[in-house]
Amino acid sequence: MSFRIPCPQCGERSVYEFRFGGEYSKRPQPGADEDEWYQYNFVRRNEMGSQTEWWYHRLGCRQWLRAVRETRTNKVIRAYFPDETEQTDRGPG
């Protein structure tokens, strides 16, 4: 089902303006072991329900944002820019 995302910069816009960046997960720190990288690179929770995920507003403000979405109904509960203090999480790359 098609839906809209309330971009914190541009307001409510069609999902087709955005690029989906996958579910949110913490990037391992330098020196992390192989298992941590395996989890980060491959394993997905693939939540059926409320999920925090990355979106890139490619046809708008061109910023990476995070959204909390209900994956059964595609209802976006909220969208926000990641906290400036989270240095290691600037988007999924």
């Binding site: 098609s2 491959f42 997905r44």
Partner: protein, 404 residues
């Protein structure tokens, strides 16, 4: 008279027993094929197939019923070809007409890069004895007289990968035929029986909880598509899977004019004409992950405009239905089949993305062998769940992303 029909039911209803040798979650075409081959080849009959919906509710009834084996990797080609061979015999084996039409399958290339990719596939296919070759517009036009091979489209057709044994089958018939055969062997099919949890102890999946009570199991198989992650989570097994919707539509019936399956990865569309004359048009997966099975207008527009690039004369045709199914995508576009490292008796047959239907007989046949003998069959060894940890991916994206 009424009694006559009652005796000839395709499958019967059963009380859910307390224990089975094998419990298969998901009674779609994969679960049914696994049960069928377990029963027929290995004499395992104490099997329960559990499904949360009715038979064919999920991917088994939502796919576009295309069969082919012209994949990219040697592992993939060998495996899908085994599946195609099993499909060829399946009607006779089940005593049930599956309406399999091997009308031929064409994957179009509209750019140099696409044609280079098709060439690699043609070479790999030929080395493994699969009938598959590159053909050019003159021959494409002969095979498909109504396709637009001119310079008019933005991306004219440059070449195609022609795969004569590919074609379409009646997907509901496959589900019903397998279900009937399973039922005749005494295998129990339980629709409207949803797995709600899995009891795990001593590295074993001991029992499956359902809305109709708990069932103890010697072996548990997760043969779901779309919900594979949720079932694996019940057993504490993590999976490299994301679920995306995939949409298709069907037009009003037309006089038969298209006797081949047409796929274009560049235009993200595939088209075939059913025996009833309807055109089945499918697209690529939705660009975001979701469990929603509702269609969207942008995708319908994209399917229509791409189909018109290939067949401009269809511009007045009406669409009858549009639907979506959900697909478990893996990082390498190859399936995940086998026993999970975390548990000793929990097998998965998941991650079937957009290519599961055509693979069902082979997946069922070889997973059954694995379960019955405890040995890993060579042909599915490359698709094991541990391959991601070992960095042994089977890169099938070039042949599986859009070309269903």
């Amino acid at each position: 008279m009424r009694q006559l029909f009652r005796n000839d039911r395709m499958w019967r209803a059963h009380e859910l027993k307390g224990a089975y040798d094998v419990v298969i979650i998901g009674a779609g075409v994969h679960g049914l094929a696994t049960a069928y081959y377990l029963g027929r080849r290995y004499g395992v009959r104490k099997i329960a197939l559990l499904d949360k919906g009715y038979l064919g509710y999920g991917a088994s009834g939502r796919n576009t019923a295309i069969l082919r084996s012209n994949y990219r990797t040697p592992e993939g080609v060998r495996f899908y070809n085994a599946s195609l061979k099993l499909y060829e015999e399946l009607s006779a084996e089940l005593g049930w007409n599956l309406l399999f039409s091997q009308c031929g399958h064409l994957t179009l290339g509209h750019t140099d890069t696409a044609v280079a990719g098709l060439r690699v596939r043609a070479e790999t296919n030929q080395l493994l004895g699969v009938d598959s070759r590159i053909i050019y517009p003159a021959e494409i036009q002969k095979l498909v007289p109504h396709i637009d091979c001119s310079d008019r489209p933005r991306y004219p057709i440059m070449a195609a990968l022609y795969h004569p044994p590919g074609g379409i089958i009646r997907h509901d018939a496959v589900v019903w035929g397998l279900a009937r055969a399973c039922d005749r062997m005494g295998i129990e099919i339980h629709p409207l029986t949803e797995a709600t949890g899995i009891r795990v102890a001593r590295r074993r999946a001991e029992a499956v909880m359902t809305n109709r009570g708990a069932v103890a199991a010697g072996t548990v198989v997760n043969a779901t598509a779309g919900w594979a992650s949720t079932i694996c989570q019940m057993a504490g097994v993590s999976m490299p899977i994301v679920t995306h919707p995939l949409q298709a539509c069907v037009t009003e019936p037309l006089k038969p004019f298209l006797d081949a399956v047409i796929v274009s990865a560049s235009l993200h569309v595939y088209v075939n004409q059913t025996g009833r004359g309807e055109l089945v048009i499918g697209s690529e997966i939705d660009p975001y992950q979701s469990y929603s099975m509702k269609g969207t207008l942008p995708t319908l527009e994209q399917m229509a405009s791409s189909a018109l690039e290939l067949f401009p004369q269809l511009h007045n045709i009406r669409v009858l239905r549009q639907w979506a199914g959900i697909c478990d995508m893996t990082p390498d576009f190859a399936p995940i089949i086998g026993r999970c490292e975390e548990l000793d008796n929990f097998h998965v047959d998941v991650g079937w993305g957009t290519y599961g239907f055509k693979a069902a007989p082979a997946a069922g046949r070889y997973l059954a062998e694995w379960i019955a003998t405890g040995k890993v069959p060579d042909i599915i060894a490359a698709f094991s769940p541990e391959r991601f940890r070992r960095r042994r991916l089977v890169g099938e994206k070039a042949a599986a992303a859009v070309s269903h």
